[in-house]
Symmetry: C2
Subunit: 367 residues, 2 copies
Amino acid sequence: MRVVGKAGAMSPISIKDIARAAGVSHSTVSRALGDSSLVSAETKARIQRLAHDMGYSPDAQARSLVMGRTRTIGVVVTTIADPFIGEIVQAVESTANDHGYTVILVSSNAESDREIKAVEMLRSKRVDGVIVTSSRVGALYQDYLERLGVPVVLINSHSQQGGVYTFAVNVDNRHGGCLATEHLIQLGHRRIAYLTGPADHSDDLDRLAGYRQALAEAGVAFDPALVVQGTGRADGGKRALPVLRALQAPPTAVFCYNDVTAIGLMHAARQAGLSIPGDLAVVGFDDIPFASYIHPPLTTIAQPKLEMGKSAVAMMLALVSDRDRANATPLTRSGQTSAMPSRDIIVRGRLVARESSMGLHGGLAAN
Amino acid sequence: MRVVGKAGAMSPISIKDIARAAGVSHSTVSRALGDSSLVSAETKARIQRLAHDMGYSPDAQARSLVMGRTRTIGVVVTTIADPFIGEIVQAVESTANDHGYTVILVSSNAESDREIKAVEMLRSKRVDGVIVTSSRVGALYQDYLERLGVPVVLINSHSQQGGVYTFAVNVDNRHGGCLATEHLIQLGHRRIAYLTGPADHSDDLDRLAGYRQALAEAGVAFDPALVVQGTGRADGGKRALPVLRALQAPPTAVFCYNDVTAIGLMHAARQAGLSIPGDLAVVGFDDIPFASYIHPPLTTIAQPKLEMGKSAVAMMLALVSDRDRANATPLTRSGQTSAMPSRDIIVRGRLVARESSMGLHGGLAAN
DNA sequence: TTGTAAGCGTTATCAG
DNA sequence: CTGATAACGCTTACAA
């Protein structure tokens, strides 16, 4: 049974406390703890033991104050209660941790006042960099991010114009749109709708472009009536169904901006008595965890979320150490250095064919 | 067009810079910025203007160093790529932010080495408190948490024994288990299975207890064969199906530890050609966002996630300010103070009846 | 009302 | 190898 001692808010022990206990100066303790070669192996060992026994924990704030970096990155999301964002953040957080970095999480709910408040907070905390996920980064917001003076890496976010500090990791939306549409064409569909995400989202426009490209390559005429407005949320899919059915020549297949939209659409279709994929084949985008668990399992374009998170952190870290190195030689406008070959990383998604597009015994999956 | 100036890593401006520009001492600046009454309204305004114009941002670390608190809380989760946890964290993060607190997110993947690394990190960052979500807090882990010396609030987590600093917000699992089971009994089911979560999880045991209580109150005999082991993940539901079907007297309904398990079960059932709820009625627990979007929509016990997140933060903040106040009067073992009436908050879930238990025209939902 | 000085816990520079 | 000493940016007695 361990004696706990006074449970009150005792301030944690510092290197000075250890110094006193060890009969040395606090700088020697600092060196010993930092495994410096300027301390005799003997006293080093002694001090390290002592520090351990006394339950010493270095004060990251004090250290950061003098070191000029916090080993902390800010992660800004609209909401983490979104399965796709959740997976990205999970990847970001764990790779950051593996590299000794801590993550401060801020959610903005896509409200611009919260966004600027968030940035202000991160600035005060002196984060070494910021990663922004799945946001449409408006001009004002981007300006604030720029002024942070630290590297900013955008994941699947669109910014107005590239800024000095802004780098990005994006999925190849056009390619994904192509894959999805080609898949449906291959299954014999000719009237294929595209159910969009939120308006003015560049991801959405690129996926649409991929859709059109695939149609064109297959010699299928593009029909603007088949492009239906969604929201990027489940309700968008729900509300789109009646619109699709009201068309003179309704589609036999729908490519949706994302999985959540597709799920909303399928839900509504089912309630309307439509069979999927019999009456309507559906393809989503993202491959959220539940895509394979809904009924029918959703065909989708899988984004390599883990890879994207890792890449974003790697990019961030490269930028940070870059800046360290470049104290007298600041980043050039192009931001090119040996360690940082490019300011944009594009990763490709892959088609995950499931039953929502081809049924249990349909097309490619026949067995 | 704004001139950006040297893009290099210029250190941000400090109160000394402002002091120099304003022709006053840095302490006057500090006071002015802190809106102290010890500065003439005139100079105060002048300094505040200046600070704004110069783009000043206070250094939270320096401030924390002298103030002794960081206004930062650590949030530890197993993984945020879990819809339930995601929603809790969302609630925690936004309420914390509303109160001027920043959230450091750490995910442990339920690996004990990561858990202790996480705690060590939070300690170094000098967080004012820690909130732990949905973990089985093992003895070792809890010991580490205790030694942090800051308040710890557990959300839906079970700890071995209450420690000095450990407080909790929990859903009433027994009550939830009761609700779910009563619902199935009311629909006429008598052979009702319980599909468990991960082994040795107290949540699971309490839900089981609620299940048994409801059975007993309805005069239905408890059959141990109907308690089938799951994992808390979708695969648990999947693997449980054959076990359930192999029983001499298979159940007509299943209450699952959580929604994810229920979804895995329903998925498997569907592939096996069973109809839900016709062949098997299913009830989950949590009410994750997708519960209403799967097919059939899942009947479940909704946890008040927003309320739980808010309560946890409120509790945390109360504990923190408590400790502030109690510099000379440390917390007693009971931790009772005026502001903190109880060390445990229990919230009740509510039944959300959907089609997985009663079909479109079944029971209560008939219209 | 303002300035001076000390101190928070570190690291780093410079003598010894 | 080790110890003073300064510095990081801030708050806060204590003096003026």
